[in-house]
Symmetry: C2
C-alpha cells in the first residue's frame, strides 16, 4: 500500500510542487497550509510521515514538531526551511526530526530519498516493537503451558511419592531409600515392608524409559505387591514369599497391560530371625552390593528383564547374610553419572563408593556429587537394607 504523507507549508507554490512530485511517486499525499490545519487533519486520520516547513504563521514548524513527537514518537517528520537558520536546525534535530532539507529543494529526488529512509526507519522500529510484543506474548503463553504441565507432573509426582515407603527399622533391620527422578515422574520404584514379624520384603525396579508412561508401571507394581500381601493374609496365595514367582506375575501382567513397557527388578525376602536372604533377578543391573566388615561385593544371579518375553522364567537364589551387614540396591541411573570410560570401571567405582559409605545413602550421594547435579540423565534409585554397625 502507498505510504501517506502530510505536506505542511504556508507557501502554496512550494506546497503544490511537493504534493505534485510526491503524487507522481505514488505517495498518498495530503496537505495543510499551517500547523493548526495539520493538527486538525491528524486528529481525524493518521499518516505515515510528515514533511513540514519551519517558518509558518501561527503554530510554527518547531512547535508543531514538538506536538507531533509527543503524540507519536515514531512518526517520521522531515523539516524543510530556508538556509541560514542554524538554530532551528539544531532545535528540530533535538526534537527528533528525522531529516532537515534546505529550501529551495532543487532536486526533489532528495525529498523522496529522505522520506523513503525515514519510513524504513519507522517501519523497522515498529517491527522491532511488534517483535518484542510477540516475544512477550509467546513467553507468557509458554509459561502458562509449562506451568500447567508442571503442575500436572507435580500432582503425579506427589501421588508417586505417597506410594514410596518411609525409612523404618523393621525387626532390627534398617531400611532406607532415595530416588532422584530425571523428570518429575520417575520410572524407578522401590518398596520394603515387614511380613508377619519374621520376614522383610524389599525390591527395586527400573522401568524402561522415564516420565509419565514409565510411572504408570510403578503404580502397577505397588498394586501387585498390595494384592500379593492381601492374598498371603487371606491364605489364598504365598507368591509374595517366592521371589521368582513374583517376577513371573509381574512379567505376565505387564505384557497384558498393553503399556509396552518392561522393567528390570531385584526382589528379595529376608528371614529376620535367620538372616537367610532369598532373591530373584529380573535383568537388573547393577547387582546389589553386600557390605560386611571391610569387604564389598556384588551379589550373583541373573534373569531376563520383566515384561519383555512371555516365556521368561525366573530363578530363586539363597544367601546367608552375615551380621553386621548392609545391602545396597541401585538402579542403573547411578552408573550414568559416572565419568569412568567403561562399564567395568563404573562397577568398580560403585563398589569402592559403597564400601566407603558403610551403607549410608547420603554418604554415597556426597561421594558421587549427586546432590550438586542440576539434573540427572536417568532416574536414580537406591535402597539400603542393613543390620548392625559396619
Amino acid at each position: 500500500m502507498a505510504a501517506s504523507v502530510l505536506v505542511i507549508d504556508d507557501d502554496s507554490t512550494v506546497r503544490d510542487s511537493m504534493v505534485a512530485f510526491l503524487d507522481d511517486y505514488d505517495y498518498q499525499v495530503l496537505s495543510a497550509a499551517c500547523g493548526r490545519e495539520a493538527l486538525q487533519l491528524l486528529a481525524e486520520r493518521s499518516v505515515d510521515a510528515v514533511v513540514c516547513d519551519l517558518k509558518m504563521p501561527g503554530l510554527n514548524g518547531i512547535e508543531l514538531l514538538e506536538k507531533l513527537k509527543q503524540q507519536q514518537p515514531l512518526l517520521p517528520v522531515i523539516v524543510v526551511s530556508g538556509a541560514g537558520v542554524m538554530d532551528d536546525v539544531v532545535k528540530a534535530l533535538r526534537l527528533g526530526a528525522d531529516d532537515y532539507l534546505v529550501k529551495p529543494i532543487l532536486d526533489m529526488e532528495v525529498l523522496h530519498h529522505s522520506l523513503k529512509k525515514s519510513l524504513q526507519r519507522a517501519q523497522l522500529e515498529a517491527d522491532n516493537n511488534a517483535y518484542r510484543e510477540h516475544l512477550e506474548k509467546t513467553n507468557t503463553e509458554l509459561k502458562r503451558g509449562l506451568d500447567e504441565l508442571r503442575n500436572d507432573q507435580l500432582a503425579g509426582r506427589q501421588a508417586q511419592l505417597r506410594m514410596l515407603p518411609e525409612p523404618v527399622l523393621l525387626d532390627g533391620i534398617r531400611c532406607d531409600h532415595k530416588i532422584i527422578p530425571s523428570l518429575m515422574l520417575s520410572g524407578d520404584f522401590l518398596d520394603y515392608f515387614e511380613l508377619d514379624d519374621k520376614r522383610l520384603v524389599f525390591y527395586i525396579a527400573d522401568v524402561s524409559g522415564h516420565g509419565a508412561s514409565s510411572a504408570f508401571v510403578t503404580v502397577l507394581l505397588k498394586n501387585l505387591t498390595y494384592r500379593l500381601r492381601r492374598n498371603l493374609q487371606r491364605g489364598s496365595s504365598d507368591d509374595l514369599l517366592h521371589p521368582s514367582q513374583v517376577l513371573a506375575r509381574i512379567n505376565s501382567e505387564l505384557l497384558a497391560s498393553e503399556l509396552e513397557k518392561h522393567l528390570t527388578m531385584f526382589y528379595g525376602v529376608i528371614d529376620t530371625a535367620t538372616l537367610m536372604l532369598e532373591y530373584s533377578v529380573g535383568g537388573h543391573f547393577p547387582m546389589p552390593v553386600l557390605l560386611h566388615g571391610d569387604s564389598a561385593e556384588y551379589l550373583t544371579g541373573r534373569g531376563m528383564p520383566v515384561g519383555m518375553f512371555r516365556e521368561a522364567e525366573y530363578q530363586n537364589y539363597q544367601l546367608q547374610l552375615p551380621e553386621p551387614f548392609s545391602l545396597l540396591l541401585f538402579s542403573d541411573g547411578i552408573l550414568e553419572i559416572m565419568a569412568e570410560p567403561t562399564l567395568n570401571d563404573k562397577e568398580a567405582l560403585l563398589l569402592k563408593v559403597a564400601a566407603k559409605s558403610r551403607g549410608n545413602l547420603e554418604q554415597i550421594c556426597g561421594q558421587l556429587g549427586i546432590d550438586d547435579l542440576p539434573e540427572v540423565p536417568d532416574d536414580i534409585a537406591m535402597v539400603a537394607i542393613g543390620r548392625g554397625v559396619l
Copy 2:
C-alpha cells in the same frame, strides 16, 4: 560507574576547557586532537560517548562520525562546530549525530545536558536490545522445557491410548467410544470386551482430577479387569460378571493404592442372547441414556463414588434392553461445555442431543460443537453400545 567520554578537538584551548568541565561533572574524560588519534584510541578501548569537533585537519568530524556510526551504531556522538555551516549540521544529522552544539559553547551546562540525554538514549536502546535477547533466550528455554514435558505426556498418552479398546461389533452389538482429554493424559477411562461369546462387559470411569495422577488410576482399572478376566477363565472367581463386586474391588484397591484418588464409574454386563443388562453405579453422573424408537431416558440407580469410603457397598440393577437400542455413556466433562445455567437444563439438553444422535457419537460431538473447541475444561469420554437401527 562514571560514563567515559572522548573529547576530540584540534583546538587545545577548547578541548581542555571541555575536558576540565566534564571532569568536574564526574565523567571519565579522554581526549584526542584529531580524527586519527581518536580512532587509534578507540581501537584500544571503548567509551560511552564522543564529543567531536567538525572542522579538523586530516580526518574531519563528518568523516570520523561516519566511521564511528558504522562501527558502533549505538554510540552517542555529539558534534560541535562553529556557526554558519548549515550543510555540516544536516550532514551530521543524517549520519546519526545525537546532537549538534554551536561553538563557542557559552554555557557548558548545555554540553552536560546533551551528553546526559544521549547516554540515556543509548542506555535505553542497549536495555531494549538486552531485554529482547533475554526474551529470545527465555523463549528458547521455555520451548525446550515445554517440549520435554510434552513429549513425556505424549508418551504417556500413547501408552494410555493403547489401553483403550478398538470400536468393534461384538456378538451383534456395536461398541464405540470417544475420549477428548483436557490435558494430554486423561482421567477418563472406558473399556468393552466380549466374554465367552455370550456376554458383553463395558464400563466408563471418571477419575477425580485429570492429568498424570489421574491417569495412574486408569492403569489400575485396566489391570484389574485384566485380572478379573483371567480369574474367570481359570474359574477362580466370577467377580467380573457381578457389577457390584467389581466396583467393591476397585474401591478397596484404590484405597490401598495411596494415590488419594477416587472415581465415578458405571459398569455393565449384557447377556447378548437375552439382552438382559446387569449394572452397578459408583457415583457416576450423568447416568447413561437409553435410546429406543424415539424415546430417550436416563437409566436409574445410585451408589457411592469408588475409592472414597472403605465401607462403600454397591448394588446390582437389572434392565431388559429393548431391540433396537442404543445405550450412551458419558463422563461429566460433557456437561461442563454446555452453556445451560442449571444442571437440570444440562441434563435435559443431553437427553435431547442423545435422542437426535440416534446413538452416533460423532453426531453428538457435532451437535455440541466439541470438535471446534480449542480445549475442553475437563476430560470428556463417551461410549455407545447398541444393536439394530434406531
